[in-house]
Symmetry: C4
Subunit: 282 residues, 4 copies
Amino acid sequence: MSNSANNDNPVRHKLRRIIFGTDTPAGKYFDIILMVCIVLSVLLILLDTIAPIHKQYGELIRTSEWIFTIIFTTEYVLRLYCSINRWQYARSFFGVVDLVSILPSYLALIFPGANVALALRVLRLFRVFRVLKLLRYLSDGNVLLRAMVMSSRKVFIFFFSVSLIVMVLSVIMYVVEGPNNGFSSIPKAMYWTIVTITTVGYGDITPQTALGQTIAAATMLIGYSILAIPTGILTAEISNEMLRERDLRKCSNCGRHGHDKDASFCNHCGTELEQMDLHQKD
Amino acid sequence: MSNSANNDNPVRHKLRRIIFGTDTPAGKYFDIILMVCIVLSVLLILLDTIAPIHKQYGELIRTSEWIFTIIFTTEYVLRLYCSINRWQYARSFFGVVDLVSILPSYLALIFPGANVALALRVLRLFRVFRVLKLLRYLSDGNVLLRAMVMSSRKVFIFFFSVSLIVMVLSVIMYVVEGPNNGFSSIPKAMYWTIVTITTVGYGDITPQTALGQTIAAATMLIGYSILAIPTGILTAEISNEMLRERDLRKCSNCGRHGHDKDASFCNHCGTELEQMDLHQKD
Amino acid sequence: MSNSANNDNPVRHKLRRIIFGTDTPAGKYFDIILMVCIVLSVLLILLDTIAPIHKQYGELIRTSEWIFTIIFTTEYVLRLYCSINRWQYARSFFGVVDLVSILPSYLALIFPGANVALALRVLRLFRVFRVLKLLRYLSDGNVLLRAMVMSSRKVFIFFFSVSLIVMVLSVIMYVVEGPNNGFSSIPKAMYWTIVTITTVGYGDITPQTALGQTIAAATMLIGYSILAIPTGILTAEISNEMLRERDLRKCSNCGRHGHDKDASFCNHCGTELEQMDLHQKD
Amino acid sequence: MSNSANNDNPVRHKLRRIIFGTDTPAGKYFDIILMVCIVLSVLLILLDTIAPIHKQYGELIRTSEWIFTIIFTTEYVLRLYCSINRWQYARSFFGVVDLVSILPSYLALIFPGANVALALRVLRLFRVFRVLKLLRYLSDGNVLLRAMVMSSRKVFIFFFSVSLIVMVLSVIMYVVEGPNNGFSSIPKAMYWTIVTITTVGYGDITPQTALGQTIAAATMLIGYSILAIPTGILTAEISNEMLRERDLRKCSNCGRHGHDKDASFCNHCGTELEQMDLHQKD
């Protein structure tokens, strides 16, 4: 009952090692079974929306769905029970995801036919992240994340400029093509412009007049050039981040990382750096 | 009446601080209200082109449109009144945009049914730039702009080569597919070629003969390779521009460039570098 | 009968030089003839699936197909006969490909109408690799391969994130558009999301409601930004790999790396560099 | 009549300066008039293929076409007449283009209805290159060209691998979807695979079965990743070429260019390089 760690009973301690840890065989099996359950339950939700499958196996899927809900509810209660600081777990990202992934099933009992509940149930997939314990991949993910954060301001300017171009092109196409050729309103013309400028090109709305097709061709070429920009920004940032990552030397005085490859002195405090063991690098 | 700054009356001075400045609470509120007005007025113009909305709310939108026009006219007159050099303001980029964004409403009174006036009204969105006072983003925007200017000659050669390739492929497809399969003229075939080479692919015109489909497949593969070029050029230029941003300080001892933005010591000889004014940079 | 190399009879030795080697005129002719046979036999398989060609030339193609099968069978038996270690050859990549490319024809005799057999027969094309003796291209291929291996973890995280985004967007679109507009199930909505996010845009399923089109437009823009990431990762890795290719020699005086491939002297201290074995590199 | 330069008569010399040179006012006017003629004649050929324009202005266009042919024929004869080495001019790239751009009109007289002749006439556009005297852009064009030549082997391996992947995917889709869903033959399935893998996505052939759509989704994702490779290769090569371009220092001993930015000694002969004026660089 108590939240303090010192009067931790052995059962709770052992459960915590199984549920939160991965260093025991039982902990590993728990993770694998949980991951299979998550993937299976999401797959069932997806398959249930296919009409012929719903017709034939609907009852079976609903039963399995409830079994999974009970499993996940038990797991959530156990996690709450054995975590050292319960309130902290409940408020953490994964704590919320764990709750959100079981709530919709119960809500569907109270408010039948709630379609949105279905959407929330798919959020279960986020729980896979927890099981994968993506520790090994974290440093690589960090490079991507930092590259994106570093370039976020450039990307914002880019999106602002793109939306202005989309606006101007949409108005021109709305005036040129008009409602008779599918450009029934400026928002519809904006939809067309985005479909064209991102090179998706559904073809549900296409220019019919010669002038419209000329402007469309120009839109494609301009759009293509514009959209090379985010690729360029991201590539440059990822390159920078990777170069920074590669240099693992640490200053013996101030402990800084990330020196240039050919640096002989720390650029922060001026201490001479040890020579890099290049064989270790390759 | 006088344009000179010395006989500036206090009302005009205060107005200028509110309208052009952002350092007073009143100036900040003015900017926020103006930005909301701009976005709302543009949204109304867009929504008004949707037939059912125009039918039901047309009168309301027209009234709001006039209220916004009066607001923007008042603002334009006030800006003219309180700017130190009126003629300079009127000729400046934002002065022209401010005028252009209110003129169409008045023109629509004189020449009813002018569709082009509508297009000009959307230019109001450019005024958002002014309100955003994109100072913080300017240095990032500059990198993009300089990268594009630096690569403009390469991009020109690229577009010239692409248009030649488009021309040759269009003639071949016109000869191979012919008017019966939708390639009714060479300009139409050029439209198809650009739709294909930019990977937009509407599908409103598609090759029907086996030979045409083979040439189309070749077009796609060649086109894809060709269009990797502007991405490559831009990426390389953006990388260069980013590197140059770091390049500004020079070691007073060994003369080395290319230090990290946050470096305090030269990484080659350990001499202390002069401090960078980071506020200016950020 | 014996696998040992010492009691190698001269016929077997000569055959091995012709079949596996390229240093004799006979060996070269053998390779050229084999390559023509492979390409022709694959072309025949492709053409045979075109209905009018099958009708008119079906008998001819079937006969040729058997001739090629006999040629390839003879070749396989000869390769087995004259290879130094037969079992090693049979288990090698090309040994398996050689077997797989002749088996389907015989299987089609036993199990008539096996369509899958057809698919396996096309694997013959892999044998072209052997004939091309892609030695000259190997070092370039290695750069690509290493770049891909180096970035595989980043790519894995990327694909995992993309599949989560696809899942969430599919559920939203399924709820918003519903079965009446072609989004008949979540898997179908996932198909649409991938078609849209990769900018393929068939247009067989398109959003019909205003809200759906807005989400679709957002999907395209987000998707486009996301998909710039693998390009960025690969470009950065390929750049790195290319730089590393230059990195192999070390100055004996100052220990510097990173000399140009064709450099003869260290660009830092002017000491002569050891000659690079260019034939090994090229 | 004589080809030797010494008995060059003054008229021929003056003509050569006008036709081949750009340093006299007459030479400049000649170039401008010629360029206008080329662009106009190509525009006429394009417009003539549009049915309503051909109906109304067909006679006028045919007359103009003949006027242009006579102008270009005169120009070709003059070029032949006044060039120092006539045979060398006739065999040069632009000599052949000049001839090819006038021949089709005469051929159309002898063989009426030759559609291919039309295609050749469009080659006139290549002549614009000559008039543009793309000297200013040549160094930039060289970077692109060298980057493409440098990466041609990688691109070849890439295209070979792509064609293998296309082949395998086509066969799978042909077996899965079959002739009833538009995949009537393997070549048709290959057309679909290329349309999909390059993200063109016409939508004229789309998978109908659930399995087919799953494979199609995988094709798109795999294809997208694969096609990031040529972009990556080109970007890396262009970056390399640009870096090499930037360094303009020349070795005083062996005359070599393209040293590294921070090089102190020529990497070819070991001579000390002059220090780079860095202010000139920025």
